[in-house]
């Protein structure tokens, strides 16, 4: 995958929210790539900055939030500094977006057919009749029964799961290269969730679309993503192939996070728990943001902020993996780290 040029390149992205009591840094020095056809999962707990990253990419940061530094490039072209109008063409044509709540994504006053047709005639060289034909095909593709009849229905006439299918059709119909899906299955019941994930996966593969899948559900990521980025307090704590991050996480936060997920396969006497809570943006600790909760903390973590370092199969922002640091090497050797007591 590394021999192709990345489709999306995010470099040192910093998002700030100026407030009366000073500037809050919501994202700090976030860098990652998404390759063509790749699904990157972004996980983290509420407030970690995962949705913010998605919003920055599609150019929909809520004011007063703004990109203060860094760059976002899509297929080699900077998109973080485009004027609003130009960004509108990128969004839809080149980047499709799927949000958590399908009811707020769809316009309740227009039939789903009209919304699909409008999207396609805006972005593709199609006339309305062609677009309508294409819209029916899309609805069939996302699994809406009797698509030719349902195309003239309004969003409220669909159930939650069906609405999310319509949203997926809407995001994909202009054939974008990248889809940013922010918690696309969170509002759905488990049996419907499974249907929607299976659909997203198949379509992304068939169309060769890249996807950034933002969710708090590690199970969804484990099944869908190729690589995963774990975020904590506005930064990437660990990034790597999904199997490695799930089975052999390196960063102490990832280890805690994976251990605290209740397994369905067996009963545990106690779940691994991370003490405390994620810091607020206004009170991010000095050094590594995770240091007050970290069981492996040592002096350096309190003063110096770690960058992403090689940690075996993944990259982790943790001083434990600084080979030049003797204390760190000692700490790793002592604990035999990297295994999650899960299975």
């Amino acid at each position: 995958m590394s021999n192709t040029r990345p489709l999306l390149e995010v470099r040192n992205l910093r998002v700030e929210f100026p407030t009366r009591r000073g500037t809050l840094v919501a994202l700090d020095d976030v860098s990652f790539d998404i390759h063509p056809g790749e699904v990157l999962g972004v996980v983290g707990e509420s407030g970690a900055g995962k949705s913010m990253t998605g919003a920055a990419i599609i150019g929909l940061l809520e004011p007063p939030g703004r990109i203060a530094a860094g760059s976002i490039s899509l297929a080699g072209r900077r998109i973080d500094n485009l004027p609003y109008k130009e960004m509108r063409t990128v969004r839809g044509r080149e980047i499709g977006a799927i949000f958590q709540d399908p009811l707020t994504t769809l316009n309740p006053l227009y039939t789903v057919g009209r919304q699909l047709v409008e999207t396609m005639t805006t972005h593709l060289p199609l006339n309305p009749a062609q677009a309508r034909k294409k819209a029916i095909e899309w609805l069939e593709l996302v699994g809406i029964p009797a698509a030719a009849q349902r195309i003239d229905s309004y969003p409220h006439e669909f159930s939650g799961g069906m609405r999310q299918r319509v949203v997926i059709a809407l995001a994909l119909c202009a054939e974008p290269k990248l889809i940013v899906a922010d918690e696309p299955t969170t509002a759905l019941d488990v049996s419907i969730q499974a249907q929607v994930i299976a659909l997203l996966k198949t379509l992304a593969r068939e169309k060769g679309t890249s996807m950034m899948l933002v969710t708090h559900d590690m199970g969804v990521i484990a099944e869908t993503a190729d690589r995963v980025a774990v975020m904590y307090a506005g930064r990437i704590a660990e990034i790597g192939a999904v199997r490695q991050v799930v089975k052999h996480p390196a960063h102490p936060y990832t280890i805690g996070l994976m251990g605290s997920i209740p397994p369905i396969s067996h009963r545990m006497d106690r779940l691994l728990q991370i003490e405390g809570a994620m810091p607020r943006l206004s009170a991010i600790p000095k050094g590594c943001a995770y240091n007050p909760r970290c069981p492996r903390v040592f002096d350096r973590c309190r003063g110096e902020r770690p960058e992403l370092l090689d940690a075996g199969d993944t990259r982790a922002a943790c001083w434990l993996y600084d080979r030049a640091d003797k204390d760190a090497a000692h700490a790793v050797a002592e604990s035999g780290y990297g295994e999650v007591r899960h299975a």
Partner: protein
């Protein structure tokens, strides 16, 4: 003992009278349009059968979980068993006593408490935490005088892992997980024996969820609490339950000891639910999602409510409603399914279990 109006046998509760027992309990909601519109459109009344004939018992000191998707009636059951709703049909017994009678007696009411899903909505934002927790103590007269009440509040805060000094603060100063701890402290303040927990961790992040689940387990073993645990998350349910009931469209479709349910699920719906859950161990696994959606409880399908989505459905399933009976093969499981009763089902372990064993 109580008399039963329905033939469905309940499992014998070990250790005497169960903490809570429901007998064919049902709750319907009238969702009809206004009378004039009904007359003009010549429609009858429309009833939403949120809960339609549910029987179970929770032995003292144990946890029963109810799982199901949205609209299956699990939260309505939670409200029925604490008396927030009256049943349309059937009865609820609290420690052997009719709930309607028990609710009128403060000394009985004190013994049951509820923890809600949303810790942002369930705490009064204008009250200090100290006063929120002290209210039940005052209401039930469990401690006299400021000194004694303050001491009890401090004890409760410590018990749920907060500092006694936190009593001075307001709810907005706490995170979601800490607020849920406050809700638990408030529920514990009347020295209850039975706690109804309606999705207590659904609004929380996973690391915080682990904290709260561990806390609830600790409290159960320390205080001998009985829990009715409502959740849509099967993985969470596996961690906390002694017995599990699976609900679909207002009915129990399967009721079994937790380990039995997770190792040998019998009802096709239970099996489908387990199959649908994304699990960490299942990286790259191809899942077979259950088709279709949950039908409307206003117009439930004839016969077995699951038949339109069930791979094993036949004519009998479409016509006749199955009762909850002991399952062939795993008699400690009660299941409402003709296919299981007739031996038409696939008695192998769940696909996920099989994969794990392999």
């Amino acid at each position: 003992m109580l008399e039963r109006s329905v033939a469905t046998p309940l499992p014998p509760a070990s250790g005497g009278t169960p903490m809570l027992e429901t007998d064919d309990v049902a709750r319907f909601f009238d969702v009809s349009r206004p009378l004039i519109q009904r007359v003009i459109a010549r429609e009858g009344k429309r009833m939403l059968r949120a809960v339609d004939g549910v029987s179970f018992a929770i032995p003292k000191g144990t946890t029963l979980s109810l799982v199901g998707e949205s609209g299956c009636g699990k939260s309505t059951v939670a409200r029925l068993v604490v008396g927030l709703y009256g049943p349309t049909r059937g009865k609820v017994f609290f420690d052997g006593q009719d709930l309607a009678v028990a609710r009128s007696d403060a000394s009985q009411r004190r013994r049951m408490q509820m923890i809600f899903q949303d810790p942002y909505a369930s705490l009064n934002p204008r009250w200090r935490v100290r006063d929120i927790i002290a209210e039940p103590i005052r209401a039930f007269g469990l401690a006299q005088g400021t000194v004694e009440i303050d001491a009890r509040v401090a004890e409760l805060l410590t018990q749920v892992g907060l500092s006694p000094l936190d009593g001075q603060k307001y709810p907005h100063e706490f995170s979601g997980g800490q607020r849920q701890r406050i809700s638990i402290a408030r529920a514990l303040s009347s020295n209850p024996e039975f706690l109804v927990c309606d999705e207590p961790t659904s609004a929380l992040d996973v690391s915080v969820q682990a904290q709260i689940l561990n806390l609830m387990k600790d409290l159960q073993s320390r205080l001998g609490l009985t829990y009715l645990f409502i959740s849509h998350n099967l993985a969470v349910v596996r961690q906390v339950s002694d017995r599990v009931g699976v609900m679909y469209l207002g009915r129990l479709v399967e009721l079994a000891p937790a380990e039995t349910l997770f190792t040998t699920p019998r009802h096709p719906y239970t099996r489908a639910l387990m199959e649908a859950i994304p699990d960490l161990d299942m990286t790259g696994r191809q899942r077979i999602p259950v088709g279709g959606e949950v039908p409307s409880p206003i117009n439930p399908p004839s016969g077995c409510p699951f038949h339109p989505r069930c791979p094993l459905a036949n004519d009998r399933c479409r016509a006749q409603r199955p009762e909850l009976v002991a399952a062939r093969g795993t008699p400690e499981t009660q299941v409402a399914c003709h296919a299981v009763e007739e031996g038409r089902d696939d008695p192998r372990p769940a696909p996920a279990e099989a994969q794990r064993a392999a």
